[in-house]
């Protein structure tokens, strides 16, 4: 017998799709899960309720009570509410995206398959972004519809910028919520912590740092999101020193600039996405 015939033939492995294709599969079925479950529709209803409240307010009090020009109208409507819609999207779609795989044991169904954990993470993230963008698009469409009704079809270019910054904020928020979701194995804990951070803690820290410590809160994501509303103000606000208060002290009112805001949001996304992915890669299904 020859040496070559003694050698075992290699195992023929099935042709698996590329990791990119597997990310696509994960996204597809995660989106299907969102649309089939009540989660997407509950957020859609909240989205419509917020839009309805604004529509009713403007209709009842008259548009002139809120704005005299299109830019002011979008500043009132979009600038005042879109960050809440983004945060709710982050909580709804990202809050338990990873922790739920552990707590509900759905991860056990996926992880035993020949696909990288990063494909699961990225696929779920893209699905959360897609679902959130649909919510955002509906919200924007209602705002634009009202704007066109009251001020005509000339959309101010600043609204386009604000829309882009809102999407950037959404990306950063989802990066952050996925990271927090990777930290916990309990869905309710990760949702609760994320909600507290975005709805209360960040704003509180921002106020304390900027008002009491008189420091620019450049490390807070919600400070970075200020560019969404600031860009709808003409002229663009700048950091100012003001005099006031009981003892007529001077204090600084911080306004985030566009480059600074973009840097904060991109920084948050990059850091939290990398950390979240690393955590999920290392986390054990015990």
């Amino acid at each position: 017998m020859s040496n070559s015939s003694l050698k075992a033939d290699p195992i023929v492995l099935p042709n698996l799709p590329s990791s990119i294709a597997q990310i696509g599969v994960m996204t597809k079925y995660e989106l299907l899960n969102y649309f089939r479950s009540r989660r997407f529709f509950i957020l859609l209803i909240i989205d419509l309720i917020i839009s309805s409240i604004f529509t009713a307010l403007v209709a009842y009090y008259g548009v002139s009570s809120f704005a005299t020009a299109a830019l002011g109208f979008y500043s009132f409507w979009w600038g005042n509410s879109i960050t809440l819609v983004v945060i709710l999207s982050g909580i709804f779609f990202g809050g338990d995206a990873i922790s739920g795989e552990f707590q509900n044991k759905t991860g056990y169904f996926l992880v035993g398959n020949p696909l990288r954990r990063s494909s699961i993470y990225v696929g779920k993230w893209i699905a959360a972004l897609t679902a959130s963008l649909i919510i955002l698009a509906i919200y924007a469409a209602i705002a634009i519809g009202n704007g066109i009704y009251y001020f005509g079809a000339n959309l101010p270019y600043q609204f386009g910028e604000s829309l882009i910054f809102s999407v950037l904020y959404l990306i950063a928020v989802l990066g952050f919520t996925f990271f927090f979701s990777s930290l916990f194995k309990s869905s309710s804990m990760s949702i609760l912590v994320t909600a507290i951070l975005f709805l209360f803690a960040f704003s509180l820290i921002q106020v304390i740092v900027s008002t009491l410590a008189q420091q620019e809160p450049w490390f807070i994501i919600t400070y970075g999101s200020g560019i969404i509303g600031n860009v709808l103000t003409d002229p663009y606000p700048t950091t100012q020193t003001v005099r006031g208060g009981f003892r007529e002290d001077t204090s600084r009112v911080f306004a985030v600039s566009i480059p600074e805001g973009i840097a904060i949001l991109v920084g948050y996304f990059v850091v939290t996405a990398v950390l979240g992915l690393l955590l999920f890669e290392r986390k054990e299904f015990t």
């Binding site: 075992a8 033939d9 290699p10 195992i11 023929v12 492995l13 099935p14 042709n15 698996l16 799709p17 990791s19 294709a21 597997q22 599969v25 994960m26 597809k28 079925y29 299907l32 899960n33 089939r36 479950s37 509900n104 044991k105 759905t106 991860g107 056990y108 169904f109 992880v111 035993g112 398959n113 020949p114 696909l115 990288r116 290392r282 054990e284 299904f285 015990t286």
Partner: protein
């Protein structure tokens, strides 16, 4: 083509000071069914999780077809179907959705998908539920879908962690039949179980583990004859297609080579206490066939395996 293999090389898993698995060295190769036995907390599920990269080894490697699961999970698990613990499926998905997801992840051609999904769902008797949401299913129904997911891509290696968990007696019997049928399709099946009758009925070999350490890995008959505490004797259950008279038992069967004793269990079954090698067992089987007593099954008794199991586990206490 090489035969499928799984191998644990110095595989250890520690949680703080607790050692869940200690220096496991085990190589299983070829088409066979290997039962993985041990008491609760022995390290069975830990081992299976290491083979599917659900947890990371503290030391050592888990290899599938020679490929490290941790270093190249995608390639290592390409030809593996697994069922670890009792996974949950997104409640809003139907079995068809969930199995389509698995089929797409594994790159099953679109043209084969529908037919293959319907086949595996029929195999676990869930056809009626194919398009109903999983959220409404009982634990046993979900487990059937999990089994069908493991079988979907016709993997050459199956890692099953107590596959009968949550199933009713009919379901358990159906799982046994499925695993038995897979043996004829040249698969390597590594299956943990607490059900010794299940293991003795299905498996060709057994590996026993306790306190994270491998106690024995050998052919089922060898393990039973070496460790049953019955002086190397094994008990064989024989199933018949018709009733057998006492005279045939006492005169013909009891006098066969290696038979220590033979007794009638029920109308159509016998229990033979036997002493001898595997070759002698083979001869006993052919002698029984030659007697034309309507022999339909011949396997080591589950009670023999139970004795062995208890002896082995007792020794490690």
């Amino acid at each position: 083509m090489s035969s499928p293999s799984i191998e644990a090389v110095n595989l250890s898993k520690r949680y703080g000071s607790f050692s869940a698995l200690s220096n496991l060295n085990l190589r299983i190769e070829g088409s066979k069914c290997v039962g993985f036995l041990g008491p609760n907390g022995a390290g069975k599920t830990t081992t299976l999780k290491l083979f599917t990269d659900m947890i990371r080894a503290s030391e050592g490697k888990a290899l599938i077809n020679g490929i490290s699961v941790h270093e190249n999970k995608k390639k290592a698990l390409a030809s593996v179907g697994s069922l670890i613990e009792s996974p949950e499926i997104y409640p809003s998905l139907t079995p068809r959705d969930a199995l389509s997801m698995v089929a797409e992840i594994r790159g099953m051609p679109r043209s084969d998908r529908k037919k293959k999904i319907e086949e595996v769902v029929a195999e676990v008797k869930m056809e009626e539920w194919l398009d109903k949401k999983v959220g409404k299913f009982s634990k046993g129904m979900k487990q059937r879908i999990n089994i069908s997911a493991a079988l979907l891509s016709e993997p050459e290696i199956l890692l099953l962690d107590e596959p009968s968990t949550g199933l009713d007696p009919r379901g358990m019997s159906e799982v046994r039949e499925i695993v038995k049928s897979l043996k004829h399709k040249n698969r390597l099946i590594f299956m943990s179980s607490h059900l010794l009758n299940e293991v003795s009925e299905i498996c060709d070999e057994v590996a026993m583990i306790d306190h994270g350490k491998l106690l024995v890995y050998d052919k089922l008959n060898n393990v039973v004859s070496r460790f049953s505490g019955d002086g190397g004797e094994i008990i064989i259950d024989v199933g018949l297609s018709r009733d057998i008279d006492d005279q045939t038992i006492s005169r013909s069967i009891s006098s066969l080579s290696g038979v220590v004793s033979a007794e009638k269990l029920e109308m159509k079954s016998l229990r033979i206490k036997f002493s001898g090698s595997l070759e002698n067992q083979e001869k006993l089987l052919s002698d029984l066939v030659a007697l034309k007593i309507g022999l339909v099954s011949f396997h080591p008794s589950s009670s023999a395996l139970e004795d062995t199991y208890l002896n082995m586990i007792k020794a490690t206490l």
